[in-house]
């Protein structure tokens, strides 16, 4: 990692990452990457988010589906932990609640492979500053 010395340096990092994201998001190509975010704040981890994340990492690899699996902070749905957000390229993100290994398996087999929704979807009910 180099040092960040100016606004241009910052913007370069930003653009690099956004470029990558865009490639993922805008593509309708089924071969392109699925994004999975696991909410890993204290609430999530206490309800088993670590196991769910491990499950996704191992199983997506085993089942040969290319995906980016990352952790993130609290999505705010503490009542439904562990929560997982899945973005299939070209589609809007979907948040699933109460995810355990069995539900994770359903998500991979049904939603990610077939586009079939799985019980336990949490409707997103907030705006962030970008949408203003």
């Amino acid at each position: 990692m180099g040092q960040v010395k100016s606004l241009d340096d910052l913007r370069r990092i930003k653009e690099d990452l956004q470029q990558k994201m865009k490639l993922r998001e805008n593509s309708n190509d089924p071969e392109s990457l699925v994004q999975i975010k696991v909410a890993m704040a204290t609430c999530g981890i206490a309800s088993g988010a670590k196991q769910v994340m491990d499950f996704f990492v191992e199983e997506m690899d085993k089942r040969n589906i290319q995906a980016v699996i990352t952790q993130t902070g609290c999505m705010g749905y503490c009542f439904a932990e562990p929560t997982v957000e899945v973005t299939i390229p070209g589609k809007e993100p979907v948040v699933f609640g109460y995810v355990d290994a069995k539900k994770a398996d359903d998500i991979i087999e049904k939603y990610i492979k077939n586009g079939e929704l799985v019980e336990g979807i949490i409707p997103v009910n907030y705006e962030t500053i970008e949408k203003k």
Binding site: S6, D16, E116
Partner: protein
């Protein structure tokens, strides 16, 4: 790869369930199958949409059509008209209450604009352990802007203009606090982040540090630039290990990028951050106590003035700000003070994060613009009260706050309104109570907490709170008198007026606000010796209904203290003096003869 062309989402939340959403779901599925659409259309139940008032809700994807108050009988029309012919069922669309227009797309519904995430903007969105993701969301741009384009006073002016007030509870204007510290003359100054979140049921600051640590680091560096400080300290409780780890990782990454350290962005400004761990004492959230604790002394508050902005950590000027306050700062610099000031009420600008807890369906973390009403928070965002019970009160501000009741439901939430109604904003814990909660016991619970957490330095707080607790305990034991209520009130006033720090000055609030709002309940406890919610065990009476008793002796045999007398095949009687109210007889009786009076 998607097999389905359309999805029909039916709300399966408690509210919609109560209005036949299950039958609706069945109907939709059957008709979809009948029409041979089951390979193209998937019908599925979802979690609560938070729009229970207009339930049951049906949402169609991908066009985001949002139908409200759908009955099981509407299933056929939705499928035949919308799914097959592509014509929306207009009579079921949501009608905007303000302009009376039908809203076809859920993204344009005012309802979904109830929550606005500023402090939580990156929480649950970015990977907190990856600095690049933070940068991709405009991270550290505010810092560059401040260091290269603005003078410290200009930054302070922006924050003053934005109207941002401290989110830790007190609500002091953040810009003014920075200005005072910047004017204090000293060779060394400090920036302190107060991450000693101690209210029971509150987890806003922890979630921000766990989900978006860089926003706090960036804001601390900006604060350092404003006041002329090179050293930042985060006072964080040791029982937040995950937040500590994420923060450590973030600080390391920021150093590697040169965003912390010497000559940031090639300017002559240098700034670095260290962590200090707290042992979890509630009083250490008070800024003077916090500073003493960081110095290695006892965590006891001292009299203000001098304020920390003049004489703080190691006797040097110190700017202390709460986590959530800091998380707002970079956005204000980037988006401008006018934008921030356009959100909220006249004297409370921006948003507030609340941790919803207690008897509410959607326990979790929410962020709403100031001025949102309690009703919107509890019923629309929080999804209402658990198990369809009746709302009784909501406690805000933790042990320093008070209870708000049904009559306050439509009060817009901001610093001043909450104070005027006998509670306070506090750090943002919101505990919802239903009809099963006894308000005297609630007051007792908070006093128990304050007695434990009082540092003991000043007598009103050390002795007074203990006495308050004892009187409340006496009332819940059924031994209270009418005079005890007056005694509670008088003592509370004295403690509030004479305590040294914020802890004692606010600790009687739960008592006063419950007396004010639930006077009847206190009176019932002392005169009728009754607890309507059945929480005060000492006030319950287990009795045997002679008509139902068959004399099986099951109750007498299971009573651990032999308080039940009676012959076999004869009517049994409970000796109230000896009864310890364990409930064993109620559980064992097969003839519904034992009941609670």
């Amino acid at each position: 790869m998607s097999k389905f062309k359309m999805h029909v989402l039916v709300c399966g939340g408690t509210g919609c369930h109560a209005s036949q959403s299950e039958l609706l779901l069945e109907n939709l599925k059957t008709i979809v199958a009948d029409k041979g659409l089951d390979n193209d259309v998937q019908v599925i139940a979802t979690g609560c949409f938070g729009f229970c008032e207009k339930g049951p809700i049906v949402k169609i994807i991908p066009d985001n059509t949002f139908y409200t108050q759908v009955t099981p009988g509407d299933a056929r029309e939705i499928i035949e008209e919308h799914l097959i012919k592509g014509r929306k069922v207009h009579r079921l669309l949501y009608v905007d209450p303000e302009n009376k227009e039908q809203v076809e797309d859920s993204k344009h519904m005012g309802f979904y604009k109830k929550q606005l995430r500023i402090a939580l903007r990156n929480c649950g969105f970015i990977d907190p352990e990856n600095i690049d993701e933070y940068i991709s969301r405009d991270g550290y741009e505010a810092l560059v802007k401040c260091l290269t384009e603005m003078k410290p006073q200009e930054v302070i002016d922006i924050l003053k203009k934005s109207g941002l007030r401290g989110r830790g509870g007190g609500g002091f204007p953040t810009g003014t606090k920075l200005e005072i510290t910047s004017k204090s003359v000293s060779d060394i100054k400090y920036v302190v982040c107060n991450a000693d979140e101690g209210d029971p049921g509150a987890f806003m600051d922890r979630s921000i540090l766990e989900g978006d640590p860089h926003s706090v680091i960036e804001a601390m560096a900006i604060s350092g630039y404003c006041i002329g400080s090179t050293k930042g300290l985060v006072y964080i409780r040791a029982e937040y290990p995950l937040a500590i780890n994420r923060l450590k990782t973030a600080i390391k990454q920021a150093r590697e990028y040169g965003l912390l350290g010497e000559n940031i962005f090639g300017t002559d400004f240098s700034f670095d951050i260290e962590l200090r761990y707290g042992a979890g004492a509630f009083v250490c959230g008070e800024e003077t106590a916090l500073i003493h604790s960081m110095e290695g002394n006892r965590g006891e508050p001292t009299f203000k003035p001098p304020f920390p902005s003049v004489e703080g950590y190691l006797g040097k000027p110190t700017n202390v700000n709460n986590v959530e306050t800091l998380a707002n700062i970079p956005v204000i610099i980037n988006q401008g003070p006018e934008w921030f000031a356009s959100i909220g009420t006249e004297k409370s600008k921006g948003t507030k994060v609340f941790a919803l807890a207690g008897k509410i369906n959607n326990v979790g973390l929410i962020e709403v613009p100031m001025g949102t009403t309690l009703r919107e928070v509890i019923y629309e965002i929080g999804g209402g009260i658990k198990d369809g019970k009746k709302f009784k009160a909501v406690q805000t501000g933790g042990p320093s706050g008070g209870c708000l009741t049904e009559k306050h439901l439509d009060t817009p939430i901001d610093y001043d309104n909450l104070l005027a109604n006998g509670s306070m904003m506090g750090s943002g814990g919101m505990i919802v109570m239903d009809e099963d909660d006894c308000m005297v016991s609630v007051a007792k619970f908070y006093l128990d907490f304050t007695v434990e957490e009082s540092c003991g330095k000043c007598s009103p707080c050390r002795i007074g709170n203990k006495r308050l607790y004892e009187i409340l305990d006496k009332i819940t034991q059924g031994k209270g008198t009418r005079e005890d209520i007056d005694r509670l009130r008088n003592l509370s006033t004295v403690i509030k007026d004479t305590s040294l720090c914020g802890l004692g000055q606010t600790s009687p609030n739960p008592v006063l606000s419950t007396i004010d709002n639930f006077w009847d309940e206190y009176i019932e406890h002392v005169t009728d010796k009754k607890c309507r919610s059945g929480q005060c065990k000492a006030l319950l009476q287990y009795v045997i209904e002679p008509e139902n008793c068959v004399g099986c002796t099951a109750c007498a045999r299971n009573c651990p203290v032999n308080a039940i007398a009676g012959e076999r095949k004869g009517i049994h009687v409970i000796d109230q003096e000896a009864c310890i109210k364990c409930g064993a007889c109620l559980e064992k009786c097969k003839f519904n003869a034992v009941f609670i009076k």
